[in-house]
Amino acid sequence: MIKIFGFLFDKDTWQEVQGSLKKNTLRSILTMVGVWWGILLLIGLLGSARGIENNFNVLFEDFATNSVFIGGGKTSMPFKGYEEGRPVILRLDDVKKVEENIEGVELVVPRIMGNAVLSRKTFSGSFNTTGDFPILNEVAKPDLTSGRFINQSDIDERKKVGVISEDVYKQLFEKDEDPIGKIISISNTNFKVIGVFKVVNFGGPQLDVHIPFTTFQQLYNRGDRIDWMMITGKPENDINQVEADVKLLLKNLKKVNPNDNRAFFGFNLGDRFSQFTGFLKGMQFLTWFVGIATLIAGVFAIGSILLITVKERTKEIGIRRALGATPIMIKRQIIVESVTLALMAGFIGIISGGVILMLINNAMLNSNEPWMRNPSVSISMVFLSLLIVVILGTLIGLIPANKATSVKPIDALREE
């Protein structure tokens, strides 16, 4: 091994490489652009994909990802004497029945929603308000920035308290004003603010104010009607199966045609989640594909430029051989030139890619709605990409290297 690679530790080898690369500085630099771009793309995209994934993971940290939302819609098929177009209404006792009858279900959380005018002093606006149980914490924990969420005594005593979103806070309160304990008006009823949460949106309507379920019932005279239920599956159960089971049960209860797909709307978070992770996986794959394809193209550019260089240096190579350079000395010199160019380009690519990721990170930190978090690439990825560059550089270097020694020294010397 030392005998084969010993020349790499020889200062003279590098002086020879430096000499011939410096001879054509501009061309050497232009040659490197392809590989530089490939690595930049690879590092930049992989880092960004990681950033999106990190952000996504943080967003969904508080959500049970094996959950599904099911609400009542309108029937689209006649069934058992009922005409189509009948609204399907879910009630609190349906929640109980789902809990009791469907085996894969862990939690069922009923929710109701309405549009309410919120006002305070001279500010007012229309916001989506939900009636919630404390158990919501278990399936979709609101990201509280201050205060607390609804508790059991709020439910029991039908307290007029609300947890507001940051958007509501911004509209109803002065900057830096502490909202906790302050009174706001919801549909002309005074409520006390007990908490502020950060909105996390992954589809569906934006929810702005949580108030106790029982308070909501009373305020809007809703009886035991609910708008939808959030269902989480037990970890070992497939959430799609749970969704199907729940829908079948509800269709039975509500006398809906089993084939009617419009009677209930469903939003399967588990589905969304796996779709998104699939998308991220695809993006990573695409990044590698594009990055490596670009790298190959870049390395080919190095190869073809070296091929031209070798042609131009035919005479020089002839002289060197007349003076006693063996073919292997010539070959490895050209391969080392190829790898050196590729590696230098790779390093510059990694550094510039890192700088870009840093800039993105800074932009995200200063942004109100960051969609990336800590975009980065692992050290092993960096080494892997450098390894690929070295291997490709060596392989492509073989072509001009063989070309360089294919001409007989006597013919090479005659070349002008």
């Binding site: 200062k11 000499g19 063996t326």
Partner: protein
Amino acid sequence: MLEIKQLHKSYPIGDSRLHVLKGINLSVKEGEMVAIMGSSGSGKSTLLNIIGMLDHADSGDYILDGLPIKNLNEKKAAEYRNKFLGFIFQSFNLINYKNALENVALPLYYQGMKRKERQELAMFHLEKVGLADWAHHLPKELSGGQNQRVAIARALAANPKLLLADEPTGALDMTTSYEIMEFIQQLNDEGKTILMVTHEEDIANMCKRIIRLRDGVIMEDTAIKQVRAKQHV
């Protein structure tokens, strides 16, 4: 020193072959200074190339200092060239992006000599050709005569048994030519064996023996009284 017997060489030209060397017999002793003359196409360059191991003969024997030169692969040929031979070319053949010192040191590099030793030895030879002050100049910054002297220093660097010169004065004016010849004569005086291809009578007369080739055979092989180049300078 050098023994050549029944050397044949031909090149393919289309369907036929051009017979360039038709049985050359040649013996050169140590310390000789031989001019090989002949019109173009006489085979003189081919002969020099075969002696220089840059080309190989079709048949015949070539023995250099007791060592038969036959069936060499490229690697072996490169090693022998490096060890036994010094080349001086008409067009100097210096590497244009290397300075004089680096050019002279190149054969030593291929010998695997350490950098410091190499530089010292190269400097010694540059001093010998009187260009120590120009050691760090590039070939384009030197005159033709100076470049040829750098090339001579390079040919001497590895201390070869035999110096091969292919029209060493072909690209130089008369005064410079004689300067270079004076220098080559000096090397011969010191004991170096020199083989030179030339087509100039006055240059040939500065050697000690003239071999005339015509159509691939030796027509004439005579020892002459050497004309010293110094008289002309």
